[in-house]
Every structure is written in C-alpha cells, then in structure tokens.
C-alpha cells in the first residue's frame, strides 16, 4: 500500500531565505507525486507534479521538487521565501487506479 510522510509539521523561515519541506513516500510501483498548497480558508491548489518524466520538477511561484527514487523522497524547495508563501503544504502520492493519498501537511510560516 502506498503512503506519504511529511517529516515536519511546521517550518519557519525568514523572508528571502530558502525553503525546504520534506516528504518521503512508500509505493509498490512507480508513483505519481504532487505538492498542493492551501492558503488560509482557501481550497487546494496544485503546485507541481511528478509523473515519471524529469526527476526535477518545476512548479508555480518558484517552487521545485526533486524525485529521488533511491531515497523515496520528493522534497519541495524554493530559493527565496516570500511572505505570500505562508500556507499549508501537502505532499500527495497516487498510483494508477487509486485515489490520492495525502500527507498530514506542513505549515510554512514566513517572518519579515
């Protein structure tokens, strides 16, 4: 069975510093992996997705993630945080024929 673990429930950074949100997954087959973002009192928006093409995936708003099969990881990064990046981030795994499996979320706080 597939599962996903977000290693940090809360990450705090200063504006202009790098962001790293960590995600490990477990899957019997080659998975599809996603990062979604949820701003306060809003729905979920897709940031980026990995679907067995390039291992380094670029998303919206300057975010990117690298798929590392040997480490079963799909960490989300951004070189320079902005105040508007403060939100909750979900790592998600999907296999063919199944629904999405969500991690428990990481809350990103950005201070000025």
């Amino acid at each position: 069975a597939q599962s996903v673990t977000q290693l940090d429930s809360h990450v705090s950074v200063s504006e202009g510093t790098p962001v790293l949100l960590r995600c490990n997954y477990s899957s019997s087959y080659s998975p599809s992996l996603f990062w979604y973002v949820q701003h306060p009192n809003k729905g979920l928006q897709l940031l980026l997705k990995y679907t067995s093409a390039a291992t380094l995936v670029k998303g919206i708003n300057g975010f990117e993630a690298e798929f590392k099969k040997s480490e079963t990881s799909f960490h989300l990064t951004k070189p320079s945080a902005h105040m508007s990046d403060a939100a909750e981030y979900f790592c998600v795994v999907k296999q063919a024929g199944t629904a999405l499996i969500f991690g428990k979320g990481t809350t990103l706080s950005v201070s000025s």
Partner: protein, 116 residues
C-alpha cells in the same frame, strides 16, 4: 468557467440532523471526489465517483452517502449528523484516473461544517 463550486460554505447542525452538501463542476470531468480535512490529518477520501450514476467508497465512508445523478453534480449526504463529522469538506474533480494517472484533481473552496 467557475471550476468546482460547493454549497453551502458554512453550516452548523445539531446532532441527529441531516443535510446535503452540493458539489458542481463545469469542466465536463468524469471523476468526482469528496474529502474531509481535519487538523493534523491531511485530506481523507470519503466517497468518489468515476462517472454519472456510479459511486464508490473511499477510506472513511461511514456515516455518509453520495449520489451522482448528473455528470456535473456530486452530492454528499449526512443522514444523522454526529459531532465527529465536524470538519471541512472538500469536493474535487478530475478528467480521468485510469491508465494515464497524472490527471490533476481540481478542488472546490470547501464547506465548513460544525455539528453540536
């Protein structure tokens, strides 16, 4: 093009009352989903539908029923609400799920339900 819409946005129920949450999508998507979001739990799938007239159970279906009478609408019903069903409910839709498994799910803005 409104995407995925949900009604109502907020609702307060007393224990034992019933209600129906409506999800509508205008993207002609085949697949629709209902999730609940609870603090520290991420989103968990309640029920889903792979096409008009079909429904299937997700991970946490107990206490909920669904119907997909029209392709664009997916209804979530609570027959006898319980405090444990206090949550934020999200509807989503996607164009497919089968062999090409990268289909993106589009989410509605959510319904905040409180059961007292």
């Amino acid at each position: 093009n409104a995407g995925v819409t949900q009604t109502p946005k907020f609702r307060v129920l007393k224990t034992g009352q019933s209600m129906t949450l409506l999800c509508a999508q205008d993207m002609n998507h085949e697949y629709m989903y209902w999730y609940r979001q609870d603090p520290g739990m991420g989103l968990r799938l309640i029920h889903y539908s792979v096409g008009e007239g079909t429904t299937a159970k997700g991970k946490v279906p107990d206490g909920y029923n669904v119907s997909r009478l029209k392709k664009q609408n997916f209804l979530l019903g609570l027959e006898s609400a319980a405090p444990s069903q206090t949550s934020v409910y999200f509807c989503a839709s996607s164009s497919g799920q089968g062999g090409s498994f990268e289909y993106e799910q589009y989410f509605g803005p959510g319904t905040r339900l409180t059961v007292t």
